[in-house]
């Protein structure tokens, strides 16, 4: 693998126990959020990425904290894998003052600039141009960093994708496009929304495209390590991860538009099961896996308890924060 060696000093992209832990952290966090949402404790809309965790865990294993990402409305996995603190993440989704965004953004806008997470996004495809600009900044400021745009197959129908693919290729920006192709754009299958394949689109822009089983975290991590190394020295790449959306478009969506048989089969492709099998093959025993699960569960409980106990945000402070404060000494 050409990329892994060059990524020396960064995270080992196929540190399978660490990847398994991240899958578990995302899964159990989202399951917890799903239950709390059903109980009315999580306000607004949430979009769960259950079944898609391997994309987040695998891609982020190839990144450093200086690398930036732009996420989507289904971004919990991206956020946690990029290193958002669990308590601040939960507190944000619960609309608390201690949330990373002080309870003003919620699930669809959770962000942590300190770890290069430029925000989930409520607008399909919008993160593409934000990541494009971030890549431009990395290069202009001579940083050895890349930016990553996560987007779903739904965003393939957005015109902004064309503009961003063209500009990234034209300027050879250090940018990785990661398509999480889960086969559904809201309530309509991709087959009824798209007349083309991303692979063919990539060829039109002469951007190297690589497809991977997005539910196999080791495969995603290996591919991402290779591509990120290529992006750092040679410009944009596209990683298309085939995956499955297990839950509805949003929580509360009963998915009556989906075939029951299709849903019943999804467990066969579960990223956690696939990773556990690989770990077992590598000699890690069931006890070790259980220990990871127990540690993750405890971390979630501690963080969630703190988030639940936190105070709600104050209106006056929010109102005063629409614009930046004036520099000290400047007249009001």
């Amino acid at each position: 693998m050409t990329g892994a060696g060059e990524a020396a000093g960064r995270n080992d992209p196929v540190d399978l126990p660490a990847l398994y832990r991240m899958l578990m952290l995302i899964r159990r966090s989202e399951e917890r959020l799903g239950t709390m949402f059903a109980d009315g404790e999580v306000p607004g809309f949430i979009h769960l990425g259950i079944g898609q965790e391997a994309v987040s865990a695998g891609v982020m294993a190839a990144l450093t904290p200086e690398d930036t990402i732009a996420s989507t409305h289904r971004g919990h996995g991206h956020a946690l894998a990029k290193g958002l603190p669990l308590e601040g993440f939960f507190a944000e989704l619960l609309a608390k003052e201690t949330g990373l965004c002080r309870g003003r953004g919620g699930s669809m806008h959770v962000a942590d600039m300190s770890v290069g997470m430029l925000g989930a996004n409520g607008i399909v495809g919008a993160g593409l141009s934000i990541a494009l600009g971030s890549a431009l900044a990395h290069r202009t400021l001579k940083r050895d960093a890349v930016s990553v745009a996560f987007f779903g197959d739904g965003a393939l129908a957005e015109g902004l994708l064309h503009e961003c693919l063209n500009m990234a290729a034209l300027w050879r920006l250090p940018m990785l496009f990661v398509c999480e192709n889960n086969g559904w754009g809201e309530f309509l299958p991709t087959s009824k929304q798209l007349s083309f394949k991303l692979k063919d689109l990539a060829a039109a822009y002469r951007i190297p495209h690589r497809a991977v089983d997005g539910n196999d975290v080791a495969a995603v991590a290996a591919a991402a390590a290779t591509l990120v190394a290529e992006v750092r020295r040679d410009g944009p790449r596209i990683l298309e991860c085939t995956t499955h959306r297990v839950r509805g478009h949003f929580e509360g969506d009963a998915q009556k538009y989906r075939d029951a048989g299709e849903l019943a089969e999804l467990h066969r492709h579960d990223p956690l099961t696939i990773a556990a099998r690989r770990l077992a093959e590598a000699g890690l025993d069931a006890q070790a896996l259980a220990a990871i699960e127990a540690e993750v569960a405890a971390a979630i409980e501690t963080a969630m308890a703190a988030a639940r106990a936190a105070a709600p945000p104050a209106f006056a402070e929010a109102l005063a924060d629409v614009y930046s404060p004036r520099p000290a000494g400047e007249a009001a």
Partner: protein, 324 residues
């Protein structure tokens, strides 16, 4: 003091901002090799290099979106959108991303971008190259909007906009690009949100911005011949706007006329009139009158366009109404 053209003042502000701060970059269609469609960035590629003066494809949505991402990642981008009519294509980046980022991310980071764009008619440019859309942006919490009327304020406000931590829509009336005016050798940086009294008077306050300031001044000259002393306020900044300055002037003159080139309905003048009718009610001796464009697209024909644009004669008539 020396004479300087409006366009040259913009160019000077860009150059001085780039010289002062390496993180300032320009991007837009034809801003680099061509020096800008109107020439605003002429010479800057040669001076600062193509890495900082960046020609983009004709991709307005990505230009603005990239400016947001770049601003969140350490640059101070100045994006040029060739005509304000084309800002229809940048709305998501400005309205959903740039404007909200600071607030919705809990104040983690501001978005120090400037979007420069020319508005205004009078050049026969037709319905899609002439419209004044600044009220749209002034309506969006998180954005600032400025619209300078003369070279010195164009310089001072553009420097302020680039230094500002928040996103600023910087509107230039293209009919003013060739305008020459006296300006100090070293033009000061101005404060966004402050109006300027460009002609003092005691009988009526005329508030205007952009090219309409000159229409208001012409009207004030005519009125002076009739013994009416109009005070003309150049608003300079539309969001935030200098409510205190307008109220202070109104409190002396007790009459208010608001002039702008954008259509009258739901425009900046409506906001000013509504606020002054509220907080200045006791000071008013007459209805507040607006002079602005009729509710129609900017027409192409010279004759139609001349009838469309607010004229000094209409401002004079409006002032007479307040004095009746």
């Amino acid at each position: 003091m020396a004479e300087i053209r409006y366009l040259r003042a913009i160019n000077q502000a860009l150059a001085d901002a780039m010289a002062a701060d390496d993180s300032v970059v320009l991007l837009g269609e034809d801003v680099s090799e061509a020096g800008g469609a109107f020439g605003a960035s002429r010479g800057l590629r040669e001076r600062f290099g193509p890495e900082r003066v960046i020609d983009t494809p004709i991709s307005e949505a990505a230009i603005a979106g990239a400016a947001v991402g770049a601003a969140l990642s350490g640059l101070r981008p100045v994006a040029e959108i060739m005509f304000m009519d084309f800002t229809t294509l940048v709305m998501d980046a400005l309205v959903n991303q740039a404007a909200k980022a600071r607030f919705m991310f809990g104040g983690q980071r501001s978005v120090p971008l400037v979007l420069r764009t020319p508005h205004g008619g009078g050049l026969g440019a037709g319905p899609q190259h002439s419209q004044c859309l600044e009220a749209w942006f002034a309506h969006v919490p998180g954005l600032k909007v400025v619209c300078p009327a003369d070279p010195a304020s164009a310089y001072g406000l553009l420097r302020a906009a680039i230094a500002d931590p928040d996103p600023v829509v910087f509107v230039e009336n293209k009919a003013l690009y060739a305008m020459k005016a006296e300006a100090p050798e070293t033009m000061p940086v101005l404060e966004i949100g402050r109006a300027a009294t460009v002609r003092p008077g005691r009988d009526v306050t005329i508030v205007a911005y952009g090219a309409a300031v000159h229409t208001a001044l012409e009207a004030a000259g005519t009125l002076a011949g009739e013994g009416v002393e109009a005070e003309v306020l150049d608003l300079r900044s539309l969001q935030p706007w200098d409510e205190a300055a307008v109220l202070a002037s109104l409190s002396r003159t007790h009459r208010l006329v608001v002039v702008h080139e954008a259509v009258e309905a739901f425009g900046v003048g409506a906001e000013i009139a509504a606020r002054m009718a509220d907080i200045g009610f006791d000071e008013l001796d007459a209805p507040i009158v607006r002079v602005a464009a009729p509710f129609m697209p900017v027409p192409f024909s010279k004759g139609l366009e001349a009838a469309y644009l607010p004229s000094a004669a209409r401002v004079v008539d409006a002032v007479r109404r307040t004095l009746a």
